[in-house]
Amino acid sequence: MTRPLVHVPATARKGAVITIKTLIAHPMETGYRPDENGRLIPRDIIGELVCRYNGKEVFRAELAPAIAANPYVAFTTVATETGTLEFRWTDLTGKHWTHTAPITVVA
């Protein structure tokens, strides 16, 4: 039941730098930790977060196994036009989670 939490300002002035904050529930299992029986817990990490703004990629992060569980990623972008931001987290097996957020850009 992974539901990402994303904060995008609802409105922004054209040309303004906006801060976007994202959180996703995920164990970010490194693959180096033993379970109670001493067997290694298989690696299970989100490898990548990509953000597209009206279809155009504006941000991409590669997440390393050393990142804590429930990764928080914040970044900035420039408000160019009214539309949608699409977020996509992908794990190492190709499984992904998406979230979209609208933004209204005023002159």
Partner: protein, 259 residues
């Protein structure tokens, strides 16, 4: 983690400290948040950086899901938790008249699962129970702790206080010796807080997850190398009753973040 590697000096200090430390005067009480780094406090205060919010949202989804033979959702009987559950976590543990015993918030949620949804109780410390508990408790964020005044709770609170003042474990330390007598000092690098249960369930960076108040108490018990009580043990409910009374008037922070 245990406190086996305590600086010898502090250990000696704790060992000779009287088991009866004076309670902290109301004006000097501080939430655990006051002992945290600026980064951790900022994380707690920003709903979009606080990972505990992931549990709040998960709980919100579960709240609306029909469950059990009764096929009822929490929301079917209780409406929106933000409104109907406001202040509830600030009052718990509360007296449960049907069973004639005190129950804490997570215990109450399981009573609703069993009695009203006709479903199996959720396991202690399971993700679903913590998510529901965090969602319900977050509705009290900003509310002052106001313990249930039912007089039948008095003997349980007194028992909780006695447990809080009893030396336990191989380190032979009582809760009060750390939390009333030594708060603000450092223990293996970590500041000792005053043990006010203002933020539960909360996100602990060390756990990388949300955990219950009882999980925190189990950590403190194993810290002094005592055998922790089992989840749901009446002794835990008694300690929680005393901790909430000690913190009466302080503000609920759920979902808090702790190191």
């Amino acid at each position: 983690m245990t406190y086996a590697r305590l600086p010898a000096l502090l250990l000696a200090l704790l060992a000779v400290a009287p088991a009866h430390a004076d309670p902290i005067p109301p004006g000097e009480r501080l939430s655990g948040a006051a002992f945290m780094s600026r980064e951790t406090r900022t994380m707690q205060e920003d709903d979009f950086a606080n990972p505990g919010m992931l549990w709040v949202r998960e709980g919100e989804a579960l709240w609306a899901e029909k469950a059990g033979a009764a096929a009822r959702a929490c929301a079917d009987c209780h409406g929106a938790a933000e409104a109907t559950m406001k202040g509830v976590a600030a009052r718990y543990p509360a007296w449960e008249s049907r069973d004639g015993r005190p129950v804490d918030l997570l215990g109450r949620i399981n009573l609703c699962r069993v009695r009203h949804q006709e479903a199996a109780p959720l396991a202690w410390e399971s993700r679903a129970l913590l998510a529901l508990g965090t969602h319900v408790a977050a509705a009290s964020r900003g509310e002052a702790i106001a313990p249930d005044p039912d007089p039948r709770l008095a003997p349980h609170r007194a028992e909780g206080r006695a447990l809080y003042e009893t030396r336990i474990g191989q380190l032979d330390l009582a809760c009060t010796q750390c939390h009333d007598a030594q708060w603000g000092r450092r223990l293996a690098g970590n500041p000792i807080p005053q043990a006010h249960p203002t933020g539960y369930p909360l996100y602990r960076l060390e756990w990388q997850a949300v955990g219950s108040r009882q999980r925190r108490l189990r950590n403190c018990m194993t810290g002094v190398r005592a055998e922790p009580f089992a989840y749901g043990d009446p002794a835990f409910i008694a300690i929680e009753l005393y901790l909430m009374e000690r913190a009466a008037g302080m503000t609920i922070e759920t979902p808090a973040v702790r190191p």
